[in-house]
Symmetry: C2
Subunit: 348 residues, 2 copies
Amino acid sequence: MTDKTLNCPLPLHYEHIVMAHGGGGRLMQQLLDDYIQPVFNNPLLAAKNDSAVFDVPAGKMAFTTDSYVVNPLFFPGGDIGKLAVCGTLNDLAMSGAKPLYLSCSLILEEGFSLQKLKQILNSMQQVATAAGVAIVTGDTKVVEHGKADGVYINTAGVGVLETALVINVQAIQAGDVIIVSGDLGRHGLAVMLERDGFEFEHNIQSDCADLSGLVQDLLQAGIDIHCMRDLTRGGLASTLIELASHAGLCFELQQAAIPVQDNVRSLCEILGFDPLYIANEGCFALCVPAHHAEKTLALMQQHRLGKQATIIGTVKQEVERGYVSLISEFGIARVLDLFSGEQLPRIC
Amino acid sequence: MTDKTLNCPLPLHYEHIVMAHGGGGRLMQQLLDDYIQPVFNNPLLAAKNDSAVFDVPAGKMAFTTDSYVVNPLFFPGGDIGKLAVCGTLNDLAMSGAKPLYLSCSLILEEGFSLQKLKQILNSMQQVATAAGVAIVTGDTKVVEHGKADGVYINTAGVGVLETALVINVQAIQAGDVIIVSGDLGRHGLAVMLERDGFEFEHNIQSDCADLSGLVQDLLQAGIDIHCMRDLTRGGLASTLIELASHAGLCFELQQAAIPVQDNVRSLCEILGFDPLYIANEGCFALCVPAHHAEKTLALMQQHRLGKQATIIGTVKQEVERGYVSLISEFGIARVLDLFSGEQLPRIC
């Protein structure tokens, strides 16, 4: 007879989170044993040590983290769980890393539905399984009703770099071609339209997706990627402005080449948003040398998540450096500027 | 002229967090550039890539995460920042790992004081510097006023195992000696007494501290550590019950040997708490073979954080397995049980 003290069942059945679920006692054990372990099910997590311990080869490793506070928790095309896993996988992928392991840290609001929690954890595991990564360590905290908003999730991730390339902003060169992997603006818009008060009929789905497989395809094919960024908060415009600024180069974009779905464009016009500044969660931009551009596009378009991959601009060396210039269909150039805040809060 | 667009100053001066600080635009850049980068100041973070990339040797690596929601944010002996760094360093240390790198992910409540944020970030950096680790990657989210409680911090950490020992619950053996590194109950009590409504005069300080140096001393001296756990949520009792249960062994503790400060003991009696179940943040228990016990104690007592290290019990093989038995000063044994929740919520 093992686990004598832990296996003694509690007389009460809970359907919602209570403060004691975060207390380090029996109820927390039950939450872990009944809701978390069975879903993320892997030996490293099951070992219940303070850290997950695993073997790594000598070489370069990538490490990243993001917290997710999206509102609402469920939206067309995903939920906070899918988002939390995709987002961290994508951050690893953007450094050229192959994701290995993730963590999952939950901040739960007292009163949150355990059924919804289960659904969210299942979403996390589904993406993780498809990506071939395991969620190996975690943490659970509970705060009083009114001190959070259902659930906030932090994921951190580690991955290994199997490429010798140095992929970062310093590697961007004048002459590079700028490619985006897909159409813009769907995630932010899908989340916002799901909020209370919006009653638009629409068929806009978040693009939330794990890009690590697509990136691995490019790396394995020997594409000389200089830099990649997923186009999350602040969208394409903010991301490229930041890159151009740090690289000290000028990015010239052709407005007509930038893919935006018609329904996204129409809704943005009605609502007064600019799709170039709206967050995406399954879309990235990359800079490659011009002679790799066609091969890159062809490879990307073979992948489910890169079918709409398009060249949208080029990197130039100008006297005035560190800005992004958008050339309209009529040939008029305008310099893109950072918004002070963002159009849509809490989209990730 | 580089960073043209980013360096253009905003006309407004902020003393509190606004939603736009989390928006991916100019204000978020300012928050990162003015408050976060200068404090955590290191080249990996300054590179502003989606992941931190670094070299690791071949071998075993540890990976862990915790979110911190302590209330209040500042308490005698520490604050949420110190806690967030110590906690994750300790989780790495408990696996026998030498901590290398940390992440810092902030969930900020709209209206939170930037001055307090600065103080918290400084606390984080102070502990990290002393431990010789860098905070290399991070994330910042802002939620509306009333959707958090000032700030929640997640830290994840990676470390390398330089020891060949396998330190975990499965390594615990009958005959092992159980040692605690210091006196119990101070952290939980110090935090609780700081909350509104308590007006006790007391001199109780949280024990919040980074234990990784002490653990490295033991490993480098060749102590055959079987298992270690820091005594956080649920305190010594819950931690040992969980260990005994998973190990399928019986832990026999001598109540008189367990170190508790007199003022902690008195306050616990007044308030109706049991110090064995109160969280600590700079105290751990370890199981070592009996023939290493004296050497372990001597080494621990040489370290600032182990001066009160004491043998508190032994591991036994009994017919009924998986429980912790506490022997009182009068020789009466009682089996310790997990609380369903905990005595004090939000102490970490």
